[in-house]
Amino acid sequence: MKLASAYRKEMTIAFRGFYFYVEIVIALILLAVLLLAVDEYPEGREKEYAFYDASPAVVDAVFAELIEEGTLVPGEPEELTMKPASFEVADEAAGTSARYSFDEPRAVSARTMLEMDRSTGRKKKTIYLLDSEDDLLRLSFSSGDVGAVIRPGDDGRLYYRYILQGYETERVSNLLYALHAGSLDELGDAMDRQAVRSLGPVDRLDARESAVPLFVTFAGSLMGFFIVMAYLYLDKNEGAIKAIAVTPATVRTYLLSKTLVIMSTVLASSSVIVIPVMGAKPDYLLFYPFLLATTFAFAALGLFVASFFDSMDDAFGALYAIMIAFMLPAFSYLIGSFDPVWLRFFPTYPVLQVFKAVMLGKTDVPYALAVLAAFLVGGAAILLAAEARFKKTLTV
């Protein structure tokens, strides 16, 4: 069959070329970094400022209980400094806001409590205990960390008031709310509607694992897209395309053989990372079809874009813009609280989400299959469009 032969030829050329090894070497370097340099459970560097609006005796009693539980461990006191600042604080519950202005710098010594993760025994968060709400506001404002005002109620329960920065998603505030103040049941509806992905500690990829969805997403999208264009322009420069054009083989066979090579390369480079890092955890039966389907679509897009330009130099602007667009969803992935709606329209967004779920072995299978089908159909449509264009332009 012509496609099989064309595929063998393209693979032979890829093995003797440069790009194939670039991908594999990048994967190997990343693997080495992940295995040797990245701690699976890094110490949490998160900070929280807390002000207990109660008498020292009550505060000590509360802490004694938490320390007893093992949730908190007393830490060393720390020196904190505050610069002059002015800002506004809005009270969402009351719908009011107040301006604050501090002209003097200030230094305080704060007691600290370390919040521990009971499953790993590692520090999750450092809590600074402050003596005034003003200090809390100033520190929270200048550092961007969460502040909490805690007041024991007459009913014996603790009431929390959180100082946030205003740019956190609703999900974050809901979670904080659920964590301390209300029961999860109350929030159930709201969270379902937002299709909340778990932010909690239960279904989390550890620090090492969380690099994997990013890598496999970018192997297929960025690298697949870029390398297929590079291969095409190599052929164009050598003029080999003209020779193929005067045989009974079709443009479609040619383009398909190119996408198959990209799919094979991505398959190899992704496996280099996924298998050693993730072990048996992922849904491999879903992972590989999903990887191949999405890579197919990105490679098809690469060919389509290439059909508009004569050389890599001409194509560079478009190539660069598209690659940046593909990268944007990574911000949402890395910064859990940054998740604007417009990001979801970038093709790498759903891919990243599905890969993350697949790595956890907790995939929403119908959703993943829907995304997979969309990429297959979209990829095929783009490839057909590329074919139509190349029939006219490939050989001139």
Partner: protein, 285 residues
Amino acid sequence: MVSVRNLSHSYGNDGRLAVDDVSFDIGKGETFGFLGPSGAGKSTTQGVLTGLLRLQKGEVTVAGYDLRTVRKERFNKIGVSFEQANVYSKLTALENLRFYADLFDAPTRDPHELLELVGLAGRENDRAGSFSKGMKHRLAFARSMLNYPELWFLDEPTTGLDPAIAAVIKGVIKAEQAKGTTTFLTTHNMYIADELCDRVAFIVDGSIKLVDTPRNLKQRYGKKLVEVEYLRDDGSIAKETLRTVDEGDRERLAGIVRSRDIVTMHSKEATLEEIFIQITGRGLD
């Protein structure tokens, strides 16, 4: 084998025609030469005939297929050698031929035999990237013969090759002619056209000025040149080539014979190039 009627082709939208209203026919087994200077439109014509360039205007039938309908299977009967030696530099000579052979739905020739034929025996397993320009050209030339083509397109088959290699290529072309292969050959080398072609078309600025056999051309225009050397008044020797078919030239010749001391004078057979210049007013380079 090939029939071209009123073919025109333009690369841009500026209305400039690279090929302008060209018509010709190539019979079965014939070798038809396109002779013309650089930029005349030779490669463009071959491009349209081989389907690399879209047929814009005119009627073209190639190997029995009307080019207005695209039928990929016609390439089973066609072999194409390009101006540029376009082989995969990352593949060996043998792999280049093997993979190419797989693209046909017709019997193909033994790659070893072809490599031998073009003098690349012993280099089968070397990558084409390590080949010299002439070797790559021979490899691409060998590739064009893989599918036993009935119709063979050769774009400048010997241009830029050293004479020994050019002789090898010419030999191969002659052997194929003897087997009855129809050949379309473009060149700006009149010796090649003279030696290999049954008929030659003179093409300049996209138009065909004349089509005939090299022999007829030479009979009609040959022996009609007189080269005369005579003494000038200052004793130096002057040399002129004059056409006996041209009234002015004849009178000038008569004048020289009457009034000058002739050193040498002989009639000369015109080369195709001289004929080309006479007819088109243009040189071949």
